[in-house]
């Protein structure tokens, strides 16, 4: 399968196979009017299989958010058809406004205008905890 190379834009590479749609949705790429290509299950020497997203436009990305979804990702910035920046990611220390605390006893369950914020407490196990009640994200 041939996908055109891009002149000015972003290639999100080495996405764990199956995670491209999650990333597409969480980054709000559905709102873009430029060409966005999602490649699933691409053969990869490093990962076996991987997903790739190509965005045919230069734009600001939420690096923390991408790192949270999948820290194995590499982001390539393309300008005038050339690779100008290659960026590896890591798990962000804090995540704001993405995850929602599910603890019914948390203050955020009654005061819903409070900003939702999670802190990385165990990088090895990728555990994030609510800054208010310390409940693990997703639990």
């Amino acid at each position: 399968m041939i996908i055109d190379s891009i002149q000015n834009g972003i290639v999100i590479d080495h996405i764990t196979a199956g995670k491209a749609m999650e990333l597409y949705n969480i980054l709000g790429l559905d709102k873009l009017d430029c060409t966005v290509a999602i490649l699933k299950n691409v053969t990869s020497g490093k990962l076996g299989r991987k997903d790739i997203i190509k965005i045919d436009r230069e734009m600001e990305l939420d690096w923390d958010l991408i790192g949270y979804v999948d820290p194995t990702i590499t982001v390539n910035i393309i300008h005038d058809g050339k690779l100008v920046e290659k960026r590896g990611l890591k798990l962000p220390e804090r995540i704001r406004g993405v995850l929602k605390c599910k603890n019914p006893r948390c203050i955020t369950s009654v005061e819903q205008e409070l900003p939702q914020e999670f802190l990385l407490t165990d990088p090895a196990k990728r555990v994030y905890r609510c800054i208010y009640c310390e409940t693990e994200a997703g639990k």
Binding site: N103, C106, S109, E111, Y132, C133, T135
Partner: protein, 304 residues
Amino acid sequence: MENLIDIMQLSTEEIDELVKTGCDIMEHPAEYAHKCDGKILATLFFEPSTRTRLSFESAMLSLGGQVLGFSSAASSSASKGESVADTIRVVSAYCDIIAMRHPKEGAPLVATQHSLVPVINAGDGGHNHPTQTLTDLITIHKEKGHFDNLTIGFCGDLKFGRTVHSLVAAMSRYTGVRFVFVSPEELKLPRYVKEQYVKSKNIPYTQSTCLEEVMPELDILYMTRVQKERFFNEEDYLRLKDSYILTPEKLENAKEDLRILHPLPRVNEISVAVDEDPRACYFKQAQNGRYIRMALIMKLLGIQ
């Protein structure tokens, strides 16, 4: 500006200093009687708790300060739907320090983000209760003379018992400590507490469902109440509430210098017959709470 939301915010040096000041206040109360003249403590209790509130108020009055506040959400503007942030913005303009209890976890942290004065967490749901832990620590130190090389048994509700989690965390920083966790299967210490404060620090521990079996090993026995308000389901509460009751018979094999602590209030988990035992410390512990809160109020107000 300093706040106290979680006991782990305090270094062991700061805890030692607070315990030292608390003990000095016990010995020489008159020297501290005017330390907070002209200062006001606001006790904002969105959830009723007679003893913690009275302990804070007694502490401030003993320092020469004054007290204002409310003792339930119904008597505050929270009943009209005011947010924690707004309540704190207003109240912090009327006082020099706040002690706050709230049924929702994390509410005191929200308070610190909007307060003009130091905030002390006086309990937020099943989450943190740092001044109870300070009370436990000053009692252990006063009775044993040190924090190192102690075997500490925790009995009862170790799952929802916030005082247990905080004391495990605080004691995990001392050397030669050993933990013994005694609870029914359903109320075991949460895995994350064990991982974070016990396993990751290679602290030796045992888990048991039988109190008598582990009794001879203990230097400290920390009893807890199985709290009705922590259960969503009444059936579970009724089934588990009488699981672990301390009686004089169960103490027969205990060490002579064992010390029994309990955050109070007690329901029936310690038989009243144990109250006469010289190893029972829980009422002394409640008294110590006043002195350590005095030390804490002084520290957060920057008073020497």
